[in-house]
């Protein structure tokens, strides 16, 4: 579903934020992407989603080159940043309806999907309020609902559990499992290694823009815990 080949990205004349990164995420994968602060996780996610141009390499989403046909790629993937700044001048309902218009989701279908996910994240009664009055966690939930109603083939999340309450985190994990069972691929960054260990079937570790380990969780981790492996690799 996602093929990243030799991705290179620098900011201005600075060092490479992402340096020759290659990995692939298959349909049905919950792929964890871990690394220290400034390792290049968010930069990689932004390059895939079309927010940042990149200097070298290739990114394919379901076989579509994101540089050659960004519109087609964006139609089947969705990215949620770690701190989603949403349209504060819209109500929650207005924001979700806007996304449905963009993705061409029919009127009855959108209502059903919004209801389902808004109820799951328990913000149904708040959809009439302006997004500007939402807390960080509520914005996070709304952004997630916005991504889920689109039913993307590839879902990319940057630190999705930051700001969510325990129940919402639990709900999100359940929804992630449900999505991959239907053939979706999920690629997400996290600092919470326990979550990655329990949730992901594959993992990639990035350090200073370079991939230092990747593959199925059991193979990469071996006999160590993910925390031990992460510390061993990143301290080396």
């Amino acid at each position: 579903m996602l093929e990243i080949r030799n991705l290179v990205k620098s900011y201005g004349n600075g060092p490479r934020a992402v340096d020759g990164l290659t990995l692939s995420v298959d349909a049905g994968d919950i792929y964890g992407f871990i690394g220290h602060n400034g390792a290049g996780k968010t930069t990689t996610l932004k390059c895939i989603s079309g927010i940042l141009p990149f200097d070298g390499g290739e990114i394919l989403v379901d076989g579509i080159d994101v540089r050659k046909d960004p519109m087609a790629a964006k139609r089947i993937m969705r990215y949620i940043p770690d701190n989603p700044d949403l349209y504060t001048f819209l109500t929650g309902e207005g924001y979700l309806n806007f996304l449905c218009d963009i993705y061409g989701i029919g009127e009855s279908e959108r209502r059903e999907r919004i209801r389902k996910y808004a109820a799951a994240f328990e913000i149904e009664s708040k959809l009439g309020d302006l997004v500007g009055s939402y807390s960080h966690g509520m914005c996070q939930k709304l952004a997630l609902i916005g991504a889920l109603i689109q039913q993307p083939k590839l879902l990319m999340l940057d630190e999705p559990f930051v700001g969510l309450d325990p129940k919402a985190s639990h709900t999100l994990k359940g929804i992630m499992r449900e999505l991959v069972e239907k053939g979706c691929a999920i690629f997400f960054s996290t600092h919470v290694l326990e979550v990655a260990e329990k949730l992901c079937n594959k993992i990639a570790i990035i350090k200073n823009g370079k991939l230092i380990a990747s593959g199925p969780m059991d193979e990469v981790r071996g006999d160590n815990t993910l925390e031990e492996l992460f510390l061993e690799l990143t301290d080396a």
Binding site: G12, N13, G14, S49, G50, I51, P53, P70, M71, A72, K74, R75, R78, Y79, P81, P84, D85, L86, Y87, T88, F89, L90, E93, G94, N97, F98, L99, C100, D101, I102, Y103, I105, G106, E107, R110, R111, I114, R115, A118, E124, S125, K126, L127, G128, D129, L130, G132, S133
Partner: protein, 526 residues
């Protein structure tokens, strides 16, 4: 004192972006910051020049020295009052880094003082533009005694204080009154709009005021003094009255201290009230209407526009003035037509109509900051499967739908009302030229904003009023007005106006073509 100074430096940097100019490694960002500052300096120079020339004329005509001070003091105070009224609550209470600052070990009074100082310094630009040149010309022409210099400097520095207090205080009260209303932005914008209209009408009357200053200075001065006595104290103080200088200084200081004490005492509850927002009780998801991509993007653009009071006030004024001009023009036509005919000045009518319509239509296009207004939300459109052309077209449409209908109404009304004075070429000029000018500033505004985007703003005022793109478009509008009407006016060749209109239309087409061709690149570079 150190935290206060640090905060003031922070806000001054945020307004004028000195650190970006000095340290940014992004050449484009640095250029944008320099251009913004250059545009502010240019506007100060233009207004300053006007103020200096007016003062020199008055003093040469032998009027009392206090009169020019009264005039520039009135102008400086009015501008500071209007600006503070437009942005007072956003600057003093509902600002982006409120939580960060309140979580720091900084006294609330320091934060209050720093925010007030930031607003005061921004308003000082108008005082510098209007008042300082007047003082310099007065000093050169009248050679006052030595103590004029320190007294004038003190009076000059204090001139915006009371207007800033009054303007921001009124805005805070207005915002508090409608804080929990669903239509908070709409109601406050409308009220501000009405107040601003009154201000603009007064500003339009200023040429007559300055004429009456020359013909009957004392009577005019006493009229203004009745409305706002401090400006009379300022003017008399600057021209030599020590007691009135002291009165002005004491009054300004007292007003400022009282306001800051009150603001300090109510700072937290005020912020709490202003950010509480509107909440729906017993909300249920109803039927959801679908629409196409362009319409959906336009809806976002429209809602973003009307959610920003500063943006609405700054840009809708042109459309309102066009309608006002059209209606007033029709109402006065029966009086004006015989006067113009008697004076054999019928040829001037199409030029005046066209010129005023162009000036109003190009005064401040929404597109000049439409990209910047996306701010930190720009990630949304960048990640959506939306063609960048639609994204730009939605922004263009916003300005066209705002100004276009007003322009068509005014053109129709004026063309009918003054038809006896217009030939076919004149009508063609009146129809084509303002429309061409509106189209050009709409697309050129977006072009300039695409070249000089600013997404890292804290308050919308930074991009709506102080960004380089907006200031450049103000100058472009003035230049386009002059270039559109002066050739026909000076040469007497009325057919020149439609020819210029055709050229402007062509330039609009080329600019639009460039935007559409490079749409993806423009969005990608944000």
């Amino acid at each position: 004192m150190k935290p206060l100074w640090t905060l003031i430096k922070l806000y001054v940097n945020s307004i004028f972006r000195f650190q970006v100019m000095r340290y940014s490694k992004d050449g484009r960002e640095r250029r944008n910051a320099i251009m913004s500052l250059a545009a502010i300096v240019l506007i100060v120079v233009v207004y300053g020049g006007m103020s200096g020339v007016l003062t020199a004329q008055m003093l040469s005509a032998g009027v009392d020295a206090s009169i020019p001070f009264l005039l520039v003091g009135t102008m400086g105070s009015l501008f500071a009052l209007a600006m503070a009224f437009a942005q007072g609550s956003a600057t003093l209470s509902d600002f982006a880094d409120f939580d960060t600052l309140m979580g720091m070990p900084i006294k609330t009074s320091t934060i209050v003082l720093a925010r007030f100082a930031a607003m005061y310094l921004a308003e000082m630009v108008y005082s510098v533009a209007y008042v300082l040149p007047c003082g310099v010309v007065y000093a050169v022409m009248r050679h006052p005694v030595w103590w004029f210099y320190p007294t004038f400097m003190l009076l000059f520095l204090l001139l915006p204080v009371a207007p800033v207090v009054l303007g921001s205080g009124a805005d805070l009260l207005l915002s508090v009154a409608f804080a929990k209303s669903k239509y908070k932005k709409g109601v406050t914008s409308t009220i501000k709009m009405i107040v601003l209209m009154a201000f603009i009408i007064f500003a339009y009357l200023l040429p007559q005021i300055s004429e009456s200053f020359l013909s009957a200075p004392q009577r005019t001065a006493s009229r203004i003094a009745r409305i706002y006595p401090p400006v009379q104290w300022f003017a008399s103080g600057a021209s030599g009255s020590f007691p009135l200088s002291a009165l002005f200084i004491a009054a300004s200081a007292a007003v400022c201290v009282l306001f800051l004490l009150l603001l300090n005492k109510t700072f937290l509850p005020l912020h709490d009230r202003l950010t509480a927002g509107y909440h729906v009780k017993d909300y249920r998801l109803g039927a959801l209407k679908s629409s196409g991509t362009l319409k959906a993007l336009f809806t976002i653009e429209r809602k973003r526009f009307f959610s920003s009071t500063a943006w609405v006030i700054n840009t809708i004024i042109g459309a309102v003035l066009i309608v006002v001009f059209g209606v007033v023009g029709v109402a006065l036509s029966k009086t004006l037509i015989p006067v113009l005919n008697a004076a054999s000045m019928t040829g001037i009518a199409p030029t005046v109509i066209t010129g005023i319509l162009i000036l109003c239509a190009t005064i401040s296009p929404t597109t000049a900051c439409a990209i910047s207004m996306e701010g930190k939300q720009s990630w949304i459109t960048k990640t959506l499967p939306v063609p960048a052309k639609d994204w730009l077209n939605a922004k263009l449409l916003m300005n066209l739908l705002l100004v276009g209908p007003a322009l068509l109404i005014a053109i129709t009304l004026l063309s009918i009302a003054y038809r006896s004075m217009l030939n076919a070429v004149d009508v063609l000029g009146i129809v084509l030229m303002p429309i061409a000018a509106m189209l050009f500033t709409t697309v050129f505004g977006l072009y300039v904003n695409a070249a000089m985007p600013r997404l890292d703003w804290e308050t919308d005022t930074e991009v709506v009023k102080q960004s380089g793109a907006v200031l450049i478009l103000v100058l472009v509008g003035l230049g386009l007005t002059a270039a559109s009407v002066l050739p026909a006016l000076l040469s007497g060749l009325r057919w020149l106006t439609p020819v210029i209109a055709a050229a402007v239309l062509a330039a609009s087409g080329v600019t639009y073509g460039y935007l559409m061709k490079n749409a993806e690149q423009i969005r990608g570079k944000l």
